[in-house]
């Protein structure tokens, strides 16, 4: 009986302890932590309800994340070449002809236009600046193209212009991110990553998303503009070096024959597959696949990335000089990559930021040089794709991250030494050409001063929706589950620009 009484006291003691403040807080901390952890873990794929990812029920996609997938809708194109002019070319010197602006040259900008607007560098009331180039109409479509682009103007009937694109970011980095990932902030996958995630790559010896840069600088937004964001990192763009060996350490070291390498990789993969049998972790299979992919890339990459052996007429057409870093070389490479089944080729050319702060950014000097450097290669690329029948199922997109102001830049209120324009978000020009695009069209118009679009305004998300549409996706249904909700490239916006579709 004495013992029973002791036991009962102990029980009572334990019950009371549970009611103490210390115990309560301890409990709360532990359980809240658990609550907080649950969604975090599920976003990492742990405890996710997706049953086909659990256990050994693996699809071909788990083993090879780049294996091709059919698109949900009938595609018009299977590849994209995206030519991004980083820094943003002036639409007012290239495509958007504004004769009214000549009249008002050097007159103060109407204040009604400036109300509520913010510019990167312009302060106070700037003066309007007339077009610095000579414009004329080209082709049957009568598209206005300036004399800065003498070669391209002959292809006016092959492209569709979007004259009233607008964005909402006036600094390079965020605007580039917005253009390529659908969000001005970091962390979202780029267009090319979405596409390779959705379609994989047809050529198993080459990556699905290749990035080439020129102009001496990578874009301001850094490598995130071709990053994979929350998608598995295997979908990020593979940047090839513009000079020297395109992919480092791809060649076999001297004295190591290919057979030996093959047997090394076979042995590693054998150990890895034993490891997989033991643990069942799909990441191990992905690893095995990457070894094999690297081995296969050794066959095709050196061949496809080599332009030395291209015939003379091709070098003449593109204006290529092997061994140099140039936009022309990249254009030729883009054609070769698309020909070999690469899904998305992204070209960045730096140097279009025509502020007029020095000679290289002057509208009548530096910009003309940039135009000269790209005019022939772009025209050559379009013609070469056309004569090889590749333009039937390839989409070519050209554009910057925003446009340039109809006003001359007055950096911090001072007069500039050269003629230049500031960043402009309200209206700029982009063009598309290739499969599914209505040739020789122009959609959208800007007001008399070229300040903002008055008709056919299209947003960055509209352009992304259109590109996805041409590749066979519905941008509203093409999603990826992350942090507990599905994400889209076009966020909650975007409408297909039907007016430029064939």
């Amino acid at each position: 009986m004495k013992n029973i009484g002791k036991l009962l006291r102990e029980l009572e003691q334990a019950r009371l302890e549970k009611l103490t403040r210390r115990n309560f807080i301890l409990d709360c901390a532990g359980k809240l932590g658990g609550l907080a952890l649950a969604p975090l873990l599920s976003s990492c794929g742990i405890g996710a309800t997706n049953t086909d990812k659990i256990g050994m029920n693996l699809s071909e996609r788990d083993l090879n994340p780049l294996s091709p997938l059919p698109p949900p809708f009938l595609p018009k194109v299977k590849s994209v070449i995206y030519l991004h002019m980083a820094g943003s070319p002036s639409q007012l010197e290239l495509f958007d002809y504004k004769p009214e602006l000549i009249k008002y040259n050097n007159q103060p900008c109407p204040e009604s236009l400036l109300e509520g607007k913010k510019f990167a560098f312009i302060r106070g009331v700037p003066n309007l600046l007339g077009p610095q180039a000579e414009f004329s109409q080209h082709g049957e479509s009568g598209a206005w193209i300036s004399d800065y682009l003498p070669h391209f103007s002959k292809l006016a009937d092959d492209v569709a212009f979007l004259k009233a694109v607008h964005t909402d970011q006036f600094n390079h980095g965020p605007a580039q991110l917005f253009m390529h990932t659908g969000s001005p902030r970091l962390g979202r996958p780029s267009l090319g990553s979405w596409v390779t995630y959705g379609l994989g790559t047809e050529n198993q010896n080459l990556p699905g998303f290749v990035v080439l840069t020129s102009g001496g600088k990578t874009p301001d937004a850094g490598k995130s503009v071709w990053g994979s964001g929350f998608l598995p990192s295997v979908y990020q763009g593979v940047q090839c070096r513009s000079k020297g060996s395109p992919v480092l350490y791809l060649e076999d070291p001297t004295g190591i024959p290919r057979d030996l390498k093959k047997s090394v990789i076979t042995s590693i993969n054998q150990i890895n597959s034993e490891e997989f049998d033991h643990y069942g972790d799909p990441e191990i299979l992905a690893r095995i696949n990457q070894y094999e992919m690297a081995f296969r890339m050794q066959i095709e990459v050196p061949e496809v990335m080599n332009i030395n052996d291209e015939p003379e007429y091709i070098h003449n057409l593109y204006g290529t000089e092997p061994g140099k870093e140039s936009f022309a070389n990249n254009c030729l490479l883009a054609r070769k990559l698309v020909e070999k089944g690469v899904r998305f080729v992204q070209l960045y050319d730096w140097g279009w930021d025509s502020h007029g702060s020095d000679k290289s950014t002057a509208l009548d000097l530096g910009l003309r040089n940039k135009c000269r450097e790209t005019d022939r290669p772009i025209s050559a690329l379009l013609l070469d794709l056309k004569q090889r029948g590749l333009l039937e199922d390839t989409l070519v997109v050209w554009g910057g991250e925003f446009g340039r102001t109809p006003m001359q830049e007055n950096r911090e209120g001072k007069t500039m030494g050269y003629k230049g324009r500031d960043h402009h978000v309200d209206a700029f020009t982009m063009w598309m050409a290739g499969g599914g695009i209505k040739k020789g069209t122009s959609f959208g118009t800007t007001d008399d001063l070229g300040f903002s679009g008055v008709e056919g305004r299209v947003s960055v998300h509209d352009i992304q929706a259109t590109i996805l549409h041409l590749l066979g996706f519905d941008h509203e249904q093409f999603t990826y589950e992350f942090q507990g909700r599905p994400f889209r490239l076009t966020d909650v916006e975007g409408e297909i620009i039907k007016e430029i579709l064939a």
């Binding site: 059919p70 047809e202 198993q204 009548d364 090889r388 029948g389």
Partner: protein, 463 residues
Amino acid sequence: MLNFIIPLIGRFHPLIVHLPIGFILMALLLMYYPKKDKIQFLPAIETALLWSCITAVLACISGLLLYTSEGYAFSTVQNHLILGLATALICLLLFFQVKKCKTINTPKIHLNSALLGLFLMLTGHLGGSLTHGEDYLIEVLPEQVQSAFGYTGYEEFDPIALDENHWEEALFYEDVIQPIFNQNCRSCHNQKNSKGGLLLTSKETILKGGKNGPVISGSSWEKSELHHRMTLPLDHEDHMPPKEKKQPKKEELELVKYWLASGAPFEKNLAMAGVTEELVEPFFIKSEVSIYPKVELTSVGTEKLSNVRDKGFFIEPLIKESSLLKVSCINFPDFNEKDLELLQDISQNIVFLDLSRTKVNDQVFESLIDFENLTILKLNNTHITGTGFEHLHKCTHLIQLHLTETEVNLLNLNLLNGHPKLKKVFAYKTPASKEEAHKHEFTFEVMFGNFELPVLPTDSITF
């Protein structure tokens, strides 16, 4: 003063009917349940039958009162009424027979009790259908069983769908207005459920209008109740469709307005009524143009696909869940025409075939005869010369032929002339492109390429 009595008694009908049901079942059970010695139950049977008769007559009276005071149509209650009366009569008959014969073992009594049981069930079921609705029991059944009964459940109506090219011929009422009613109004204004006495299901009923008179005014659309109620503020009590229901689209309202304004025509087509394209444009069905043939084929199983893939081919459905296939030899450079046999049994399904950069020769064309639905064929960078192009006439769907950097000459290219569908041939960097090609006439477009960009003085000016 006391005229409420009659409807009140009538409303007791659903209660009273359960009494005869109970007594009659009781009597029948007593008559047939114990197989032997039934005779000792005779007084009980008589009593049960007596009460059955009394309550059945009461049920009939209350039923008749309900029928007259609630304004049911005779056609709706007809069967229930007749069967109910019959049940009561048979019940009376049976009672007197049993009372007279002092037995229950005559054929007449057996017949009458069988009839009584049957009529009781039928009357009860019909009465239930009147109060709970005819679908009461069917609704809960699985769909397959429902359709076996010939019951289609909730009717689905198609929204307006106009052909982009022939919209003018569509009938204004039948193809546009009625679908709008079907989508937005029909759930409350149909034969079964006509709220406010209004049926929006046919020309006659629409013209007839509802309880409060016609909904269409001949003189002007503004006076038409139909449009007026639909355009009242959403919070207005009389707004139609009710606030919580699905609301019509702005474009649909515009069309209803235009229809009423043009005098609510029931027979005119859209062009005759003067409808502009702008008004109906949102309802066009965009016909998806595809260069690939529209054929119904059996899908190729995933097992077969991975078999072909293991051989080195790239093979994928054209789009998700399509039976049409896209095949390429992009990672199969050793492919030659003999390997085409691997594809023979799925040749019908292949619409896109890329044999570029492989080791095929001219014999390939003979093997391609079976590829009936082939639409795009790529043979770039191969050794073909085009001898055997005549076989491609059998590929009646072929639209694009890619021959860049091959040995095809002009003579062989001519073999393709007259192909039924062929639209584009790409022959850049072939012997054909070097010959006097441009004077030749083809029934298709040929791309010889050889584009050049002139050297301009500006090419070398550095600013």
